[in-house]
Assembly symmetry: C2
Homo-oligomer: 321 residues x 2
């Protein structure tokens, strides 16, 4: 216990960009909520592939400064509210995505962020499940609903349908009435069918770009050559949205050549979107699937597993308290 | 024109907290949009009382760091978009409230903020009108809609109905079907009636706390003793929401004693709320009233006028370009 007046907490922190060894389990000052912010005691923190890119200091995440506490997905209990907050009260169970893609902070015992970066946790979800939802769920919801305006009967192809974003996108696309085609290895096909996929395809057996045509919307979660090839599945004027927008320049040239549309996308904190996800959860139309949990202090192991790319659904860290 | 590769811009900046003389018209580096952010060329920037409190370094605004470019209300043109932005394209006319209550930046030729801090400007509004809307409009909308859930036939008292927030709150409360009572000096009563107020009251003639009873919701925009006294107008269980929450501790004790509810409130950036305001504008149910405009370089004069507290509607700065 600290003898000073400043409260402390345990957190995963990195002092330099690099490998998993840069993630250190340390004691740091507990953050204090600014006006409009809430202080949340972290019960569970989701792990995302972008956490690994960030740890490595890749590309667009370089705007962050060090030292850095990773983690943008959280579920926990409101411990204190800053000046002017009415959205929550102390003791509320909330889930959210603090500050993405800027300062993070969820791999810790406590995190602060503006109240609108959170929503009330649906009672039917555990904290572990709720921590799996914000970043991946908002990405899927915003791509399908806000950007593509997916409607009844549209043919939606989801590339990597069993992954963190993919398995939520399958469910959300179904809830919007779409005909859903998901790519995944054969051993994941039963899982894809359970989530509601209308067609499943093993991309290791045949290139989906050769198999599927006349697609209205591609939700592209892999990047690289795969992303470029999938443009060929679209109907004229169809839309591919990629969460791996580092391919953007070539993607746009190629899309124009093929008379289709393409867009890169990066999620933002969005309290309204979280409320909409909670509504889908409560209606029984959406549920995050947990691949594995680790204690917060084992963030290195959790990130190593997600970097392997063979997980089904989400990996979540659990608080020590 | 700069010979370096870094672009510059003109802006109002302050190096120290203090009086209007701390607002300096300087040349600074033009900001660059981070991932999920847009760079907006400022056509008009709204002035708010909180800008003055901030300039003075009062209370809850101390979390900001110096040097500081003031200004949280902006309307302008998207000049560039960062990685992953789909909400807007270059050339779009947008309005928004960047970063409140943290870093500001709208008293400048350019400002950056996350895309969800903006919405498309309604075509029926000029940039000057749109710049008058975000902070005051979101404050009014969130208080009435999100916090108080005002519905048809409810009696809503708006304290300072002719001010920046007040004149928008009167219109929004009417659009929600409320019976609206607005306080204002007699010379502003015709304006209040035009906006739809059902009853108007000159607070210099009689204390509204003695005149009105059985109010469902008080929108309190003045603070101090006035705020405390207005608790007595509420029906049992009625709700007073104050945008001047520095009174919070006494306010809550007194509310409990009187068997009514009270809440302080501070607005947050909210793209969904801006979309809702734009919808009200387009439906002809909401229009900001402009008291006076000043060129951006005359921010001192604009802040002096708003600090006087006798304006009707909003004060807006206009870009030099």
């Amino acid at each position: 216990m600290s003898t000073s007046s400043v409260a402390h907490m345990r957190a995963i922190q990195q002092q330099a960009w690099g490998g998993p060894e840069e993630l250190r389990w340390v004691s740091v000052e507990r953050p204090v909520p600014l006006p409009t912010e809430v202080l949340v005691r972290v019960v569970a923190a989701g792990v995302n592939p972008v956490d690994v890119f960030t740890r490595e200091g890749r590309a667009y995440m370089r705007a962050l400064s060090l030292p850095h506490i990773p983690g943008w997905d959280v579920s926990g209990i409101v411990e204190a509210v800053g000046y002017g907050v009415t959205r929550f009260q102390v003791g509320d169970a909330v889930f959210g995505m603090p500050w993405f893609p800027r300062q993070a902070g969820a791999y810790a015992e406590y995190v602060t962020a503006p109240a609108r970066h959170f929503a009330l946790k649906p009672a039917s979800l555990s904290h572990v499940e709720a921590a799996a939802l914000p970043l991946a769920g908002l990405t899927a919801w915003e791509m399908l609903q806000e950007i593509a305006h997916v409607g009844r009967g549209q043919r939606v192809l989801i590339n990597a349908g069993a992954g963190g974003v993919g398995h939520l996108a399958v469910q959300i696309a179904k809830s919007l009435g779409a005909w859903v085609i998901a790519t995944a290895r054969s051993e994941k096909h039963a899982f894809m069918r359970e989530l509601g996929a209308d067609e499943v395809h093993d991309y290791t057996q045949a290139d989906p770009a050769e198999v599927f045509k006349n697609i209205d919307v591609v939700i592209e979660l892999v990047g690289g050559e795969t992303c470029l090839r999938l443009l060929r599945t679209l109907r004229p004027g169809g839309l591919l949205i990629s969460a791996q927008a580092a391919w953007a320049p070539q993607l746009f040239t190629e899309a124009e050549r093929l008379n289709v549309r393409a867009s890169g996308y990066l999620v933002e904190p969005n309290g309204h979107g979280l409320d909409e996800l909670a509504r889908l959860i409560e209606a029984g139309r959406l549920k995050p699937h947990i691949h594995q949990t680790f204690p917060l202090s084992q963030a290195r192991e959790a990130q190593a597993l997600i970097a392997g790319g063979r997980t089904v659904g989400k990996i979540v860290l659990t608080g020590e308290s």
